[in-house]
């Protein structure tokens, strides 16, 4: 379970303050998978980083009663000068996972082959995402935070990802950011809409999508 308690978060940009969350409170219960919807630039990625703890809120509290994954997104959590293997070893170590077993799993799942020994700097975006996915799956988290990276790799890799996640979802939950309504229906049973500093939870994913579309039409 992850709880947001009156969380505020804003950024300074050249055009003034950009407010992502304004006194937002929400409870992401365990046993449910949440899809997060929101227009571009609403701060969905920031929300994911807040939930992960990569970033502190300006005020308010984020409570985590679960082992929450690092944010799985395009940003990447790898050090460019280190090889895939070294990065995985580092992450396994700080999360207290068995290093050899984690490396073996990631090496097999990511299918990076000789690139597994190369610096992450030399990877394409897709290869990075594959490494991140495999590393995340290799470590047992209670909640997986995924930021728009479900559409990676070729068909076969995507199918294997989906299969691996379905297995994992028997025990763990996911919180997913995506623009793809199909993906969201496939994985999530609850939804949340982030817009104008407010985070609204919907018990039904259909209703969340509906309210999101209404929001887009209003602003159009």
């Amino acid at each position: 379970m992850i709880m947001l308690d009156r969380v505020c978060k804003s950024y300074r940009t050249r055009a003034g303050r950009k407010i992502v969350l304004d006194e937002a409170s929400a409870v992401f219960q365990s046993g449910h998978n949440f899809g997060i919807l929101g227009p571009n630039g609403a701060g969905k990625s920031t929300l994911i980083r807040l939930l992960a703890g990569s970033e502190p809120p300006d005020s308010g509290i984020v409570r985590r009663h679960a082992r929450v994954s690092f944010p799985l997104g395009f940003g990447g959590t790898f050090h460019g000068a280190l090889s895939g293997r070294e990065n995985v070893a580092f992450i396994a170590r700080i999360y207290g996972a068995a290093i050899r077993a984690t490396i073996a799993y990631v090496e097999g799942f990511s299918e990076l082959r000789e690139y597994f020994e190369m610096p992450v700097n030399t990877y394409s975006a897709g290869m990075r995402a594959r490494l991140a996915f495999a590393t995340c799956l290799a470590i047992d988290f209670d909640v997986y935070l995924i930021d728009e990276v479900t559409e990676i790799g070729d068909q076969r890799f995507r199918r294997r990802c989906a299969e691996a996640f379905r297995q994992r979802m028997l025990r763990s939950d996911i919180i997913l950011v995506t623009h793809n309504p199909h993906t969201i229906r496939q994985y999530c049973d609850k939804g949340a809409v982030l817009a104008n500093g407010q985070l609204t939870l919907h018990d039904d994913i259909g209703r969340a999508l509906e309210s999101y579309h209404r929001l887009l039409q209003e602003s159009a």
């Binding site: 703890g53 990569s54 940003g75 959590t77 050090h79």
Partner: protein, 184 residues
């Protein structure tokens, strides 16, 4: 030791931006890791150099090994203090690293590396003695060659400078932690 530590810690946050995305890794971790890396590197370099001199038959062993080690450790702590300060300043003033690079050039000349303080006119030495690094260099020197006994050397001044900058650096890092690093 001082220059390497204080300069490279300035860049530690930007260089490890992706690792800071991991919730378990904070700015203190990457800064301290960088500082320790510099300590190990420079120690290793010193050992290799001295061993090389020894192999060539030059008197390479310090006469007071403990004194040399302690002086290096203290000046490393001073470097860490400035490293933390630099990292904080650089987060708010982006060109600070360039200015710091120039300042350290100046410090080379004012530390009694090229010109031994013993050969300086007294009034110049009195001014330069305000520089903690001069004490570091002479502390090291006097432990290496025991016949060198500079009367102006004040070890406690260097230790105090190290403690003060370290406290200030750590304090600022802690206080401004959340503003040191912004993703994207």
């Amino acid at each position: 030791m001082f220059v390497h530590t204080s300069s490279s810690m300035t860049y530690a946050i930007a260089a490890n931006g992706s690792l800071l995305q991991l919730p378990l890794v904070g700015t203190f971790d990457v800064l301290m890791a960088r500082g320790l890396l510099e300590l190990l590197t420079d120690t290793l370099v010193a050992v290799i150099l001295l061993a090389g001199f020894g192999a060539l038959g030059l008197g390479a062993l310090p006469q007071d090994f403990a004194g040399v080690s302690v002086s290096l450790l203290v000046v490393w702590l001073l470097g860490c203090g400035f490293g933390f300060l630099n990292a904080v300043i650089n987060a708010f003033a982006k060109s600070w690293d360039k200015i710091w690079a120039q300042l350290t050039r100046l410090l080379y000349f004012c530390s009694g590396i090229f010109y031994v303080p013993g050969m300086m006119p007294e009034w110049i030495r009195d001014i330069l003695a305000w520089n903690p690094l001069l004490h570091a260099v002479d502390w090291f020197r006097s432990s290496f060659f025991q016949e060198y006994e500079p009367h102006w050397l004040d070890r406690s001044y260097l230790v105090m400078a190290a403690v003060v900058t370290l406290l200030a650096g750590l304090g600022l890092e802690r206080g401004l932690q959340r503003r040191l690093y912004e993703p994207l």
